[in-house]
Structures are given as C-alpha cells and as structure tokens.
Amino acid sequence: MFTTISHKKRILFYILLALCFVASVLFVSHNESFYERPIAEVIKTELEDSTPISDMYSNDDQLFTQQITALVKNGEAKGQLIHLTNEYSSSGAFDHEYKVGNKLFVSIKADNAQKGQLSGLILDAKRDQYVLIVAWIFIFALLIVGKRQGLFSIISLIVNALLLSFALDLYVKHANVSLLFVSGVCVLLFTGVSLILINGLNEKTYAAMLATLLGTFISLLISFFVLWITSENGLRYEEMQFLTRPYRMVFMAGLFIGALGAVMDVSITMASSMFALYEQDPSISDKALKVSGLDIGKDVMGTITSILFFVYICGSIPMLILYLKNSSTLGLTLSMNLSLELARALAGGIGVVLTIPISLYTSIFFIKRKRVN
C-alpha cells in the first residue's frame, strides 16, 4: 500500500520535473520580449581583419575584427537586421568572438534608422540560457545520485539564497542596520534551515546546530581579535572588488558566512558519526565516544580546510595572471590579490578545527541527555 503511493508520487514528481525543465528551457530561449534592452541574434559573421599586436611588456596577441549581422528579437526594431562590429583578441580576457546563434545585448544607433540598415554597439552576451541548462544538469545530478537527500539539499540551497537576498535587501534599504548584525541573524537562520533539511529534527541536529553556532562565533571572535592586535596589517582592502559599502564590514560579514558552511559540515559529520556509534552500542562509554569522535575529527579537518582554500584562492587565478603578465612583482601580485582570500581561508580553517572539540562535547551532552530519558 505504502510503496504504491510513494511510487505513484515519485512518477508524478518526475513528470512535474520534466515539465518544469521543458517549460523553463523554452521560456529562456524565447524570453527576449521580457528584456528592456534590445537583444539581437547573430545570423552571420565575417572576419574582416586580423593583426598581431604586442603590448609594452612584449606579450604577443592577435587582434581580430569581425562584422556581424544580427536579427533584432525585441523592442521597436524587432525583425530588422542590425550590423555590428566586434573586436576581439585571441586571449579573450575582456572580449569574445561571437558565433552564429549567440544572442547579444545591443544598443541601437538612433541616427541610422533606414529600414533594414540598423547599426549599433554590442553591450554584452546573453547568458541566461546557459546558466539555466547548467542549473538543470546540477539539479538532475543531485536528484539522480542523492534522491531524497539531493532534493533536500537543492531546497536548502534555494531557501538559503532567498534568505540571503532578502536580508541584503533589508540591509540596503535601512541604512542604520549593521551588516554584521544582518549576517549574524542570517547565520542563525542558515544553520537552522540547512541542518534541519539535511538531517531532520532530532538530537543529532540540535547537537550539530549548537556546535555550528559556537564554532562560527568563536572563530569570528578570534579573527576580530587578530585584526585588532595587528591593526589589519597585511590586508589589502584596496583590491577588494565590487564595493559600494564600507569594505571592512563587507569583508568580515563575508568571512562569517564563508566559514559557516565548512563549520556546519564538520559539526554534522561529527554528530552523525557519534550518534551512530551510540545507537550501535548504547552502553558505549563517554571516553570511547571521545576517542572515536576525535579520530573522525582528525580525518575530516584537513580535507574540509582544503575545500575552503581551493574555493577562495582559485577565484583569483585570472587576476593573478593579469598582474604577472603586466610585469608586476611577485610580492605585489600575491599581497594584492591573495591577502583577503588567504585570510578568509585561514579563518575558516580555524573555525573548522575549533568545531571538532566543540561538537565532540555538544554531541556527548545530547547523548547523555538521551541516556537519562
């Protein structure tokens, strides 16, 4: 009885998912009318010119000019052809070669409005269809491999993203709210949502939540303390990208949220394994639990810290290459681009390692409570 219902439900779920997939892909490939900016689809490209160039640091590159004929897909000029010129280099650091089928955001020149002979400038490529397709592959991969857990991790990603977006809206609209306070509240909510979705409501989750919050806040305190006694010597905020707000706060809040995931990872791994040990053998001594818990912690601390390292440092690879190729010295290149990333990774690592003993004790505390009942 039960299996037939869940079987039916599962089929229904898959049908619904397939419908969502088809509908969204169709929508994104025909959504030009929802954009205010004119969009044009490339229908013909012609290579006009190709010249080798060499910059002042004797880097050799090749510069190309292509003539593009494109069809305007929305707005007043819909259906007309537009002629565009695109310059690109073979390295492509800031430019692209466009191919037939690419959709581009363009600006149409007003003075040249003879019928069928529009010209204009290319602003940017339209990328939403690719983002969507990769998103669907991600969703399918998580569902096929993870089944139920996969679904819950997708849900937790979405809920957390919405929470973050909502919190940032609040922060941007109300000038007197501190970003650190906003992200503090976010951390509380993120921890609750993620751990409950991953693990359900039970003692294991409570132990992990408590450990996560303690671990994150203590590691934040340590980072604050270090920043304070060194008066932030060695951090190069001037290279912090995308800033419209006080950089120090943005950095600290980012550090806070960035460390949270890793800390959660450790505390849930610790709590799960320790509760599993207890359930296998309810008479297990606290001492034995401590020893096994510590062993598990030692196993995971290296890998989880290195997850953070790779995520943070790899993002700056393009900038590092740009600096090095523009004859910047090694010292300047590294300190300019890596000081904040390394600080984030190290602070996260401190959070991860600190959380090991913390979750050891919170798990034992909750196991003890369970024993009494």
Binding site: F138, G258, L260, T305, V311, A343
Partner: protein, 264 residues
Amino acid sequence: MNVLVWLAAILFILMIVIGGKKGVRSFLSLFLNFGVLFVTIFLMTNPKNSPIVLTFIACTIISWISLFYINEKNSKTITAFISTMITIVILLFFIVVVTGKSMIQGFGEESTEEISIFSLYIGVNFVQIGASVIIMSTIGAILDVAISIASSMHEIFHHNPLISRKKLFTSGLSIGKDILGTDTNTLFFAFFGGYLGLLIWFKDLNYSIGEIINSKVFSTELITIFCAGIGIAAIIPIASSVNAYYLVKTREKVRAQESASHSK
C-alpha cells in the same frame, strides 16, 4: 605583525593540539597545495602551455599530496585516487564545453575600473583559464568525497567480507548521499561569503534580475557553484563502483589463491 601570519600560526597550533601528527600533515599539505597552485599559475602565464593540461597535472599532484601524504599509500587511498582522476577527466570535458559556450571567461564589466590600468592583450587563453578556475575550485570537495567513500566502503567490506558487489556499490551510494548535502552546502556558503560584496553591489545599483543573471561575474559564480555540485554528485557513483570493483576483485584473487593452495 601580519594578519596572515597570525591566523596561520593560530591554525597551525590548533591543528597540532587537536590533530597531533595528522594535524601537522594537514597543515603542511595546505602549504604544499598552495605551492603547487602557485607554480601552476606561474606556468600558465606562458602562452605556449595549455592551461587545461597544466590543470590536469596540477590536479594529479594535489590529489597525490592530499591522499598519499596525509593518509599514506594503501588500498583506500589508491581507490580514492583512481576515482578522483576519472571524475576530473569527465568534469574537465564538461566544463571546457560550458565555459566556451557561455562566454564567462576573463573579467566582467564590473571590474572595468580595476583592470583599466592593465594591458589585456596578454596572449594567454582565458577560456581555458576560466575552465581551470572552476575545476580547481572543486578539487578539494571532490577529494573529500573520494576519501570518505573509499574509507567507509573498506570499513563495510572489512566487517562484512562476503558482501556482494552490488550491495557494496549501493552502500557506497548511500554514504555518498550523506556527504552530498553537506559538501554542496560548504561550497555554497564559501562562494557566497566570497562574493558578498558583489551581491550588495547589485542591490545598491538596482540591477534587475535579467541584468544580474546575464552579467559575466554573476553567471560565472552560479555556473561554478553548479559545476562544483555536479562534480560532487558525479564522483559518488564513480567512487562507489571503483571501490566495489576493486574490493570484490581482490577477494576473488585471494580466494583463487586459497583454492589453488588447497588443491595442492
């Protein structure tokens, strides 16, 4: 004194106190990996070297260090290494296609001010570099899953030596499922922590959803998160089957030898 020196020293002390010998190794491997990464970046500045080939070599060395240096060479780490390499090759093909199609290489409009003082015609292939960034961001998580699955499956096999290959495979999958959620979470928060400034920038400048999704920086960010998730999901069945195959194969070998010696 420098912030980074302080933080590194605190991390080192904590790792020793809590992890002992293994803590020292974990800390040193962070530095070795950083060294490998740095040499790779340096080699990438030569346009004659293919960033993709360099990335593949770097991933091999990083996996080698993380698996064999921290955990020493044994059947667990060997199967984890094999599964990591298979996953990296598959993921590399996928990501090269994705970065090429979606044109997310290089720098976005939002960084115009920052990079305006630099010469951008530097000859290196930024499409391939974009692909390397994505794959290298994920390698830590892939290794984490590979080693967790390998060691749990070896444990199961040890307690239950007669288990069938199929059962072994399914138990590998179910271990993987547990890690899937937490690891995607770790990556998600790390990325969003790192790009908090960007998100506030979008909100402050009133970007519309359409502008955000299509902007190069944001779509790069999203595609990286998704590819990382795809990588973590992909290695779970790969690692489960590699381990199941290896464990059952060695059992059969041992049996064949035993029966051979019995029949003598």
